[in-house]
C-alpha cells in the first residue's frame, strides 16, 4: 500500500481531485445534495427525507437510502462545524470513498499497484462523474466492491451486509443481487453456506432498510427519481404502444447465460457481473454515474487480460467522457459554466450529430469489449472449461484394498455435495445366499452386471440420472432401486472398474489400488469379521478360493491404470509383530503412467512435508515409480497441494477434509493427477 501511495501517479490523481473539489461546484451538489445534508444536520432527525420535503425541498434532492446519508453525514458535519463550505465536506467524503475503493481493489489485486493507479485512480470516468459532476455513485460502488471482496474471502456474512448496504445507498445496485445469488447457488461448496449471506443481508436490511420503509417521503423521493427511467429509454417499438426495452432484455439474457455457466468460480463471477454492468452502461448514454459501478469489475478484467483490454477500456472511457461533456455543461465554483458543446461550436443539430457519432464509436468499442470478456474471461476460463462435464474417476482393486476408504477420502476433498459415488458391489448379480456363489467368486466378471455398471457410468458422465440398487454387506441382499443424480465428480469404484475397455474410456482418471497382499488379508479379515459380521474361518478359506480369480481377473487391471497406489508395510516382517507397542508403519508406492509431475511432487514432499522419497524410472521411461516413507500431517498435505496444483483448489469443498499420513498422501497424489487430467481437456 505504501508503494502505491508514494507513486507519482497517485499524487497526480490526488491533485486532479483536489483541483476539481475546489474548482467545481456541480449543480447536483449545490442545488440538491448539499442543501439536503445541510437541512438534515440543522434539524436533528432520523427521517431527513420528510423534514426536507416538509421544508419545501425538491424530491430530486436525495433519492437514496440510509447508507448513503450516513456516509455523507460525518464530513458534512465537520465542514459545518469548522465553518467551511459544505460542498467540501461532500467532496472529501467522495474522496474518502474513492480512496477506500482503491484500497479494496488493491486487496483484490495484490501486487498490481501501477495498473490500479493507471486504470482506476486516473480513470477519467471516475474523476468526471464524481468530482466534476458531483455524482455519488462511488459510495454504492465501494460498498458493492467490498461485498465482492468478502465474497472472495468466503466471509459471506460480511458480503451480505455490504451488499445490503450498497442497495440501501442506491437501489439500482439491486441489479447485482441475482448474480451474487447465482454464483453462490451454482457453486455447490458455497451453496452450503448461503444461509450466512442471507443472515448478513437480512441483518443489514433490517437496520438500514426497514426504517426507510417508514419514511413516506423517502420512498416518494426514491421512486420518483427520473434517473431510473433511463433503463426504458432504449426501446424497440413493436407498433401500437408496445415496445421492447433493451436494457432489461439484455439484463435478463445475461442472467440466463450466467445461470447456464453452471458452477462458477470467483473469476467467472466477477467477469460475468462486470459484463452485465458494461452492457447496461452501453445502453444508457450519458449516465457516467452508472459507469462508475462497472469500473471495479472492469479493473479486475483489465488485470486479468492485459494491454489490449487496457487500451480498449481507456479509449472507451475517453469517448464516454467526451460524449458526456458534449451534452452536459460543467459548473465552475466561480459561477461560470464550461460547455464543451459551445466551445467547440457543435451545438444544436450539429452537436447532436457529433454526440451521436461519438456514442456510436463508443458503443462499438463497448460491444467489442463485451465480446472479449465473454471470450477471454469466460469461455477461456480454466474453471469454465473444466466444469463443463463431470470428472469421472475409476477405481479398481481387490476386495479389501481400501477402495471405499480411498473414495471417501477423495469425496472429503470435493465435498459430498459435489460427488456421486458408484460402487461395483451394487452390481453383484445375486444376493449372498444364492447357490451360484458356490461355483463362482465375486471376482469373476460373470458374477457381476458389468454391462449395467458401464451403462450407469456412461449415463452419469453424460449428466443424466440413473436408477441404482445398493448391496447391503450385512444382510448380503440388494435393496430396492432408487434414483442417483449426476454430479460434478463421479467416483466409480469396484473389483472390475477397469475391466471393460469401454469403461476405461469413460474415465478421466484410472486408479488401481494395489495393496500388499499380506496387508490386504489382514485389513480384509478385520473388516469382514468386525464390520460385516462374517466368520473368521470363512474369510480365511475365501482367500484361498479367490486367489486364482484375483490373479486372472483383478490384478491385470493395474496395467490399464494411470495411477497405481500401493500401501506396503515398511518391512514385510513388521506384519507378524503388530500390536500396541509396535504400530504398523506403512510406505506408499506410487506408479504413474501419466508422465506426471514427479519432480515438483518430490520437491514438495521433501521440502514441505519432510518425507523420504525414492524415485525410479522404468526401463522404457513409460512409468515412474515413487516410494514415499515418513510421517505427515493434514496441514502438511494441504500446503503441499497449494504449491503443487493450486488451480484445482477452487474445485474443493470449503474447507476440504485433508487427512493425516498415507491417506493424505494418496489425496495429494490423486489431486495432482486430477489436475493433470483436467489439463488434458485444454489440449
Amino acid at each position: 500500500m505504501k508503494k502505491m501511495c508514494l507513486h507519482p501517479m497517485f499524487f497526480l490523481g490526488l491533485a486532479i481531485r483536489a483541483v476539481l473539489i475546489i474548482g467545481m461546484t456541480p449543480l447536483a451538489v449545490s442545488d440538491w445534495y448539499v442543501p439536503f445534508l445541510d437541512a438534515s444536520i440543522s434539524s436533528i432527525t432520523l427521517d431527513p427525507w420528510s423534514a426536507w420535503l416538509a421544508g419545501g425541498g425538491t424530491p430530486l434532492a436525495f433519492p437514496y437510502g440510509y447508507a448513503m446519508w450516513l456516509v455523507f453525514l460525518p464530513l458534512t458535519l465537520v465542514a459545518k462545524l469548522v465553518g467551511s463550505p459544505l460542498h467540501y465536506g461532500y467532496g472529501l467524503t467522495l474522496l474518502a470513498a474513492d480512496f477506500c475503493l482503491l484500497i479494496t481493489l488493491h486487496h483484490l489485486l495484490p501486487g498490481r499497484e501501477r495498473l490500479l493507479l493507471a486504470v482506476y485512480w486516473l480513470s477519467p470516468i471516475v474523476v468526471l462523474a464524481s468530482y466534476a459532476l458531483g455524482l455519488n455513485d462511488l459510495v454504492p460502488a465501494l460498498l458493492l466492491t467490498m461485498s465482492v471482496f468478502f465474497m472472495r474471502r468466503v466471509e459471506l456474512r460480511l458480503a451480505g451486509c455490504f451488499c445490503a448496504a450498497a442497495i440501501s445507498a442506491k437501489l439500482s445496485m439491486v441489479v447485482a443481487l441475482p448474480f451474487f445469488a447465482i454464483y453462490l447457488y451454482n457453486n455447490k461448496a458455497l451453496r452450503q453456506r448461503i444461509a450466512q449471506l442471507f443472515l448478513g443481508f437480512l441483518t443489514c436490511t433490517l437496520i438500514l432498510g426497514v426504517p426507510f420503509l417508514f419514511s413516506n417521503a423517502g420512498l416518494q423521493m426514491l421512486f420518483g427519481n427520473p434517473e431510473m427511467g433511463k433503463i426504458y429509454r432504449v426501446a424497440l417499438g413493436l407498433g401500437g404502444n408496445v415496445s421492447v426495452y433493451l436494457v432489461p432484455l439484455i439484463y435478463m439474457v445475461m442472467l440466463y447465460l450466467v445461470w447456464r455457466v453452471r458452477r462458477l468460480n470467483f473469476d467467472l463471477f466477477q467477469a460475468t457481473t462486470g459484463m452485465a454492468f458494461l452492457l447496461i452502461v452501453l445502453m444508457t448514454p450519458a449516465s457516467p454515474g452508472w459507469f462508475v459501478w462497472s469500473i471495479p469489475f472492469l479493473v479486475l478484467y483489465q488485470a486479468m487480460s492485459g494491454r489490449t483490454a487496457i487500451i480498449l477500456i481507456g479509449v472507451f472511457s475517453v469517448l464516454y467522457v467526451l460524449s458526456t461533456l458534449l451534452v452536459t455543461p460543467l459548473l465552475l465554483s466561480n459561477g461560470l459554466d464550461l460547455d464543451f458543446g459551445r466551445v467547440l461550436h457543435v451545438s444544436g443539430q450539429l452537436g447532436n450529430h457529433a454526440a451521436s457519432l461519438l456514442h456510436t464509436a463508443m458503443v462499438a468499442i463497448g460491444v467489442v469489449l463485451a465480446i472479449r470478456i465473454w471470450r477471454e474471461a469466460i469461455t477461456r476460463n480454466d474453471f469454465f472449461r473444466l466444469s463443463r462435464k463431470p470428472f469421472v474417476i475409476g477405481i479398481a482393486g481387490d476386495s479389501g484394498s481400501g477402495k471405499d476408504t480411498y473414495a471417501d477420502s477423495i469425496t472429503g476433498l470435493f465435498g459430498g455435495h459435489s460427488v456421486v459415488k458408484l460402487s461395483g458391489d451394487d452390481y453383484h448379480r445375486w444376493d449372498r445366499q444364492k447357490p451360484m456363489w458356490q461355483v463362482m467368486t465375486h471376482l469373476n466378471p460373470m458374477a457381476n452386471d458389468l454391462e449395467g455398471f458401464c451403462n450407469d457410468v456412461v449415463s452419469l458422465a453424460d449428466g443424466k440420472s440413473i436408477q441404482s440398487k445398493h448391496y447391503d454387506h450385512q444382510t448380503g441382499k440388494m435393496s430396492k432401486s432408487f434414483r442417483i443424480k449426476s454430479n460434478d465428480f463421479i467416483i466409480a469404484s469396484g473389483l472390475h472398474a477397469l475391466y471393460l475397455p469401454i469403461l476405461r474410456d469413460c474415465y478421466n482418471l484410472k486408479v488401481y489400488l494395489d495393496i500388499d497382499e499380506a496387508l490386504r488379508r489382514q485389513f480384509k479379515l478385520r473388516r469382514d469379521v468386525l464390520q460385516r459380521g462374517h466368520a473368521v474361518e470363512r474369510t480365511l478359506t475365501s482367500f484361498e478360493k479367490r486367489e486364482p480369480d484375483a490373479e486372472r481377473f483383478i490384478r491385470p487391471q493395474s496395467n490399464y491404470a494411470d495411477l497405481t497406489l500401493a500401501l506396503q508395510p515398511i518391512h514385510p516382517r513388521m506384519l507378524q509383530h503388530v500390536d500396541d507397542k509396535n504400530p504398523l508403519r506403512l510406505k506408499l508406492v506410487v506408479k504413474s503412467r501419466q508422465g506426471f509431475n514427479e519432480v515438483s511432487l518430490n520437491r514438495v514432499l521433501v521440502g514441505v512435508c519432510g518425507l523420504h522419497v525414492d524415485i525410479v524410472l522404468s526401463d522404457d521411461s513409460a512409468e515412474v515409480q515413487m516410494t514415499i516413507e515418513g510421517e505427515t500431517s493434514a496441514a502438511d498435505i494441504e500446503m503441499a497441494a497449494e504449491m503443487l496444483c493450486p488451480r484445482i483448489l477452487e474445485f474443493l469443498d470449503i474447507p476440504p477434509r485433508w487427512q493425516d499420513g498415507m491417506a493424505g498422501l494418496m489425496q495429494l497424489i490423486t489431486l495432482s493427477h486430477i489436475s493433470q487430467a483436467l489439463t488434458k481437456r485444454f489440449i
Partner: protein, 249 residues
C-alpha cells in the same frame, strides 16, 4: 545502491557467497507467523496460557544457546522445543517435539517469500559463469529444505552450513570451506548478507571479501569495523551494478 569503497568494485568477482536467512527472503514475518502457530498449537494442546509458553520457550532457548554456544545445533528448534516440554514438566515428549517442529517449519516456509529479483540476479550470475555458494548458519536439514522449497537448488553450486563447518559465522571455517569447494579462479570474492557482524565483518576479516549488505526494515546498517563496502535494499540495484561491470568486461 550505496557504494562506500568504490575502488573495490572495479571488476566482477571470481565467486559469489550468499547468506540465506534475511538476505534472500525477509526472516521476521516468517518467523513470527511460525512461532505463533507453534504457540497456538502448544496452548491448545495443553490448555496453558500463551505467556507460560513464551516464558518456557524463552528459558529453553536460553539454556540450549548457552550450552551449545556458536554451533549449528544452538539454533535447533527441535532442541528448544524438547527442552521446553521438559521445563513444562512433561519429560522429553519426542513425538510432540517433532510435531511442533514440523508445524514451525511448515508455517515458516509458507510465509517465507523470496525478495523480488533474487532469481533474476542468480540467473544473471549463472549466465556470467561465476560460481555461487551459500554460506549459512543453522543445520543442514532445515537449510536444505528451505533451498528446495524456494526452488533455489539449481541456482547454487555449493552450500556450506555451520553444521558442516562446526562453527557459526563470523568464524572463518564456513567461509574457508566454501572457497575450498568452489576453487575460484582469483581472489576477488563477493559476500552478500544482512548481518553486519557475521556476514560483513566476518567475510572481510576472514577471507578479505568485498562485502555487500542487504538492507530492509529491521536490518541495521553496519558501521566502523562492520561497515560493508556497499549496501543495497533492492536486488534490482545489485543486478544493475553487475550488469555494468559485466559490460565493462
Amino acid at each position: 545502491m550505496k557504494i562506500n569503497n568504490q575502488e573495490r568494485f572495479a571488476r566482477l568477482p571470481d565467486a559469489f557467497l550468499f547468506d540465506t536467512d534475511n538476505t534472500l527472503y525477509p526472516y521476521d514475518p516468517a518467523h513470527a507467523a511460525a512461532q505463533k502457530a507453534v504457540r497456538d498449537k502448544v496452548v491448545n494442546t495443553f490448555s496453558i496460557m500463551p505467556d507460560d509458553f513464551d516464558q518456557a520457550f524463552r528459558e529453553a532457548r536460553g539454556q540450549v544457546k548457552t550450552r551449545l554456544k556458536h554451533t549449528a545445533s544452538s539454533h535447533s528448534r527441535l532442541l528448544y522445543l524438547q527442552r521446553m516440554l521438559e521445563i513444562m514438566g512433561l519429560g522429553s515428549q519426542v513425538l510432540l517435539a517433532l510435531d511442533f517442529e514440523q508445524t514451525y517449519w511448515r508455517t515458516f516456509l509458507s510465509n517465507a517469500v523470496l525478495f523480488d529479483g533474487v532469481k533474476d540476479l542468480l540467473d544473471d550470475i549463472r549466465l556470467l559463469g561465476i560460481p555461487t555458494a551459500i554460506v549459512t548458519d543453522l543445520t543442514a536439514q532445515i537449510q536444505f529444505r528451505k533451498i528446495v522449497y524456494f526452488g533455489l537448488d539449481n541456482y547454487f553450486d555449493f552450500i556450506v552450513t555451520s553444521e558442516e563447518a562446526g562453527y557459526d559465522k563470523p568464524h572463518e571455517a564456513p567461509f574457508q570451506i566454501a572457497l575450498e569447494k568452489m576453487r575460484p579462479k582469483g581472489d576477488c570474492i563477493w559476500m552478500i548478507g544482512d548481518n553486519p557482524v557475521s556476514d560483513i565483518r566476518g567475510a572481510r576479516e576472514k577471507i578479505n571479501a568485498v562485502t555487500l549488505q542487504k538492507t530492509h526494515a529491521g536490518v541495521e546498517l553496519g558501521t566502523d569495523a562492520n561497515a560493508p563496502d556497499a549496501s543495497f535494499s533492492e536486488f534490482a540495484a545489485l543486478r544493475k551494478l553487475i550488469a555494468k561491470l559485466g559490460f565493462q568486461r
